[in-house]
C-alpha cells in the first residue's frame, strides 16, 4: 500500500510534533512525506501523485478549529471536479483517507461541554464530507494532543500507532495490530517472541469465539 502524507504546517521547521512524525514516516518505505508550503503547485504532478496513492493522510495542526490555509489551498487546486469526483460518483474509490491532527489543548477541551464548545468530531466533519464525495473510505483520525507534554511511554506508543496508521488497512483493528507486531518481530529475528505473541492472539480469538457462542446460546 502506498501512502501519501500531505503535511500542512505554517512553521514546520519549528514543530517538534512534525519533526517526530517525519522521522517516523521515514521508517516506512511505502509512505511519501509531502510538505504543502503554499507555494505555486505543479497541478499535473500533484494530481498524478494523488491518484497513484492508496491512502492519503492529511496531517496538520489545528488552526482556528480547522486546517491551515496551505492544506485548503492544496485541496482547492488539486482536488477538483473530474479528478477526485465526477458528476455522480467519487473518483477515488478503493482508496482511504486518514487525518493526523495535532493540537495544544488537553483532549477534554474538545468534549461536549468542554472549553472549546465544539467536539473534535464536529470540527473534522468537513473531511468526512470530502471523503464521501470522493468515494474515499475515512479512517478514524489519529489525534495528537499536547505532544510536548507526552511521556516517553506515550511517544513510543504514538510512534507505533503512526506507523500502523500509514500502513495497515484498518489501523484500529487489534487483530491487524497483532499481525503487524508479529511481522516486525520476525524481521528482527525475535522468533520466540513472535511465536508467543501469535499463540496468545490465537488464544484470544478462540476465547472470543466461545464468548460469542455462549452469548448467542443465551439469547435463544
Amino acid at each position: 500500500m502506498h501512502t501519501l502524507i500531505a503535511v500542512a504546517h505554517p512553521h514546520i521547521a519549528r514543530s517538534n510534533t512534525q519533526s517526530f512524525l517525519k522521522e517516523t514516516a521515514a521508517l516506512e518505505p511505502t509512505a511519501t512525506w509531502h510538505e504543502l508550503d503554499g507555494a505555486t503547485l505543479n497541478l499535473a504532478a500533484e494530481r498524478k501523485q494523488l491518484l497513484a496513492s492508496d491512502r492519503i493522510v492529511l496531517q496538520f495542526p489545528l488552526y482556528w478549529y480547522s486546517a491551515p490555509a496551505a492544506l485548503w489551498n492544496w485541496l482547492d487546486q488539486v482536488w477538483v471536479k473530474n479528478v477526485v469526483y465526477g458528476p455522480d460518483d467519487g473518483l477515488l474509490q478503493g482508496k482511504s483517507l486518514g487525518l493526523v491532527v495535532s493540537y495544544s489543548e488537553p483532549p477534554r477541551d474538545y468534549d461536549l461541554g468542554g472549553k472549546v464548545g465544539l467536539s473534535m468530531q464536529e470540527i473534522l466533519r468537513p473531511f468526512a464530507a470530502i471523503a464521501k464525495r470522493c468515494g474515499l473510505q475515512l479512517l478514524s483520525p489519529l489525534l495528537i494532543p499536547q505532544f510536548d507534554r507526552m511521556t516517553e511511554q506515550e511517544r513510543a506508543q504514538l510512534l507505533v500507532a503512526y506507523r500502523q496508521y500509514l500502513t495497515l488497512a484498518d489501523p484500529s483493528s487489534q487483530r491487524e495490530q497483532a499481525a503487524w507486531f508479529e511481522q516486525q518481530l520476525r524481521q528482527n529475528d525475535a522468533e520466540l517472541l513472535a511465536d508467543t505473541l501469535a499463540d496468545q492472539q490465537d488464544k484470544l480469538l478462540d476465547l472470543r469465539a466461545t464468548v460469542s457462542q455462549l452469548r448467542a446460546g443465551e439469547e435463544e
Binding site: 511511554q153 511517544r155 510512534l159 507505533v160 500507532a161 487489534q174 497483532a178 517472541l193 496468545q200 455462549l214
Partner: protein, 59 residues
C-alpha cells in the same frame, strides 16, 4: 495475566531498555503495552466464559 502474556511484557520491556536505537526502543515499549492489553483481554474473555458457563442448577 497468564504466564505467556507476563513473559511477553517482561521480555519486551527488557528489549526496550537494551535497545540502542530510538525506533527499536519505542517499538518494544509499545509492544509491551500491546501485550499487556492483549493479556487483559484474554483474562476478560476467560472471566466471561466462566460466568456464562456457571449453572446453579448443576449444584
Amino acid at each position: 495475566m497468564d504466564e505467556s502474556s507476563a513473559w511477553l511484557v517482561a521480555e519486551a520491556k527488557k528489549r526496550a531498555t537494551a535497545a540502542d536505537d530510538y525506533a527499536q526502543q519505542a517499538f518494544y515499549t509499545a509492544l509491551a503495552a500491546f501485550c499487556q492489553e492483549q493479556g487483559r483481554q484474554i483474562e476478560l474473555a476467560e472471566g466471561e466464559i466462566d460466568g456464562r458457563s456457571w449453572n446453579h442448577e448443576q449444584w
